[in-house]
Symmetry: C2
Subunit: 322 residues, 2 copies
């Protein structure tokens, strides 16, 4: 394997390991959604610990994280003698399938031209207001003033479920959800004006640009050395980080309709980069899982055929230049 | 005629005459909508001057007011030799017919459960913002913060037409009109919470209560003295003031759905009071118009039958106690 390729992948892995504070629960959910779900949704805890160890997550951290994910209804523990398997709950599966539609899509969703609003209709104290603003911003909502939050496409019920999961049920009674269509006439402002006012697109663009800077050198290396056989384990680790980073970017991205975005929006480049890199990593990483993703009885679950269609190839867009 | 009746009517007329500043144009539009339109929509200027003189409007004030209403496209002047007739324009007629649906209705409109919003999506300077807030408040809009205005039923295009008529076309490009349906779930706030937050209902309730205090003594007198023959001219003057006051109240009233209003909302009492008093004043006031509402050729136009159905009597609500 050429040195340059090793170093660009190693560089990404090292940077992850050097993070001050790893959100292990979130990373574990990425693993469940991206690699465990396509093999049936369950994994032996010992196997999960082994898979994540090269990313710097020690056994104790993984154990406490899955325990917490169990309390949060994402995972369920199944005892098999002295061994424990962890399984995605049906609600966890639903939530990940919803996320998957965004992560593995070939293009940004088609907009139904309906804005989703959440209005603050009762007084909140300063602490509640801060927590609400942060939680909705994290879900990709934009805002006008502090009483009017807007999103182009979110499922409002799911958005409220997330607020409850984040301990914000005390403010729910003061929020009014609305679905709205613009009734604009020639003289009035446009949806694009709303976007410019309600979102800080510069910050989101910067996040996408950083993502592209992180992964474009790796893609360039993989493209240059078609013969290079990337190590199965490194392909797996890189695939997890790639999808984890991309999933977290999308979480904060309102996925605004393309017509309302600035020209040369980096979100599109990021999507194409992620897709191509993911495709190149799929086969070597599956080799790793074929020997390391184990159930409690030591068997390896097969990859289900219905999961083979992530990042569909019927994408009309040209590939990016690396 | 009993003295008490004279004095309660005289008291109302005197109070009008003593006003510091009469909005003559607005009062003339009330006369056009309430008494001229049902007789064909045109009147000789000399006759209009004579009709309004007992309210303290002098000839010069009426002449300048109709001239201004002509410039504002409400009225059109028709010369007949040396005499001028004023006619409601088709746009003026349309606007009054829209208003009539509210003024002469038997009950509050049925709500389609769609909120109308106007969002401020571009920065406005302080002066523009103040003018906009005032203009929208005058049209019955409520507001959350300063960037989000809401109305339960207004026609948004008509609302923007009014903003343009009020010289606010410079801010139109910064406003986004929306039509929204609430998507509430069990845990979230309600439409009633939005009402409580966005409107100052106390102030509107006070206006209705004042209206009731002004006219209830007159209705009580008319009820007590069924035999009393109120003077035709006084019936006419009182009818004009009654509808003028009520029309101006409705202009500022968002006509919120009854389910969202507090119990004992005085708007309902005001509507019933206005209806009964208007019915009692109709016949005597028409006697006055039969001799004093003249065209340029000195003839009296007949009352058109299609206007006989104001305040329909099929109202299921009980009458008020006076």
């Amino acid at each position: 394997m050429p040195t340059a390729l090793i170093s660009s992948i190693q560089h990404r892995l090292d940077r992850f390991r050097q993070q001050q504070r790893v959100r292990a629960g979130s990373l574990i959910m990425t693993v469940f959604g991206d690699v465990v779900l396509p093999r049936g949704g369950r994994i032996w805890l010992g196997s999960l610990i082994r898979l994540l160890e090269p990313l710097g997550l020690n056994e104790r951290l993984v154990r406490t994280s899955v325990f917490r994910l169990g309390k949060e209804q994402w995972l369920r523990a199944d005892a098999h003698g002295r061994r424990a398997e962890y399984v995605l709950t049906s609600s966890g599966r639903l939530r990940f399938e919803e996320a998957s539609r965004h992560i593995y899509a070939s293009h940004a969703p088609i907009w139904d031209r309906r804005w989703r609003f959440i209005l603050v209709v009762r007084e909140l104290d300063a602490r509640q207001r801060d927590r609400l603003c942060q939680a909705l911003q994290w879900q990709g909502f934009g805002s006008l003033d502090n009483d009017c939050f807007v999103h182009p496409s979110t499922d409002l019920e799911a958005a409220f479920d997330t607020l409850v999961a984040e301990g914000l049920s005390d403010v729910m009674g003061g929020l009014l959800p609305l679905v709205a269509a613009t009734a604009r006439t020639a003289l009035t402002g446009s949806d694009a004006d709303l976007v410019a006012r309600a979102w800080n697109l510069d910050r989101l663009a910067e996040s996408y640009t950083n993502f592209v800077s992180d992964y474009l050198p790796i893609l360039a290396e993989l493209r240059r050395d078609r013969m290079a056989s990337i190590e199965p384990e490194e392909a797996f680790l890189l695939r997890v980080l790639l999808i984890h980073d991309y999933r977290r970017l999308l979480l904060r991205d309102p996925e605004l309709p393309e017509v309302l975005l600035p020209a040369d929006w980096p979100g599109q480049t990021a999507r194409m980069l992620c897709r191509e890199l993911y495709r190149r990593l799929t086969e070597p990483s599956e080799l790793h899982l074929d020997t390391h993703l184990l159930l409690a009885d030591g068997t390896v679950p097969e990859r289900l055929i219905e999961w083979a269609h992530r990042f569909p190839s019927d994408d009309p867009l040209a590939s990016i230049s690396a």
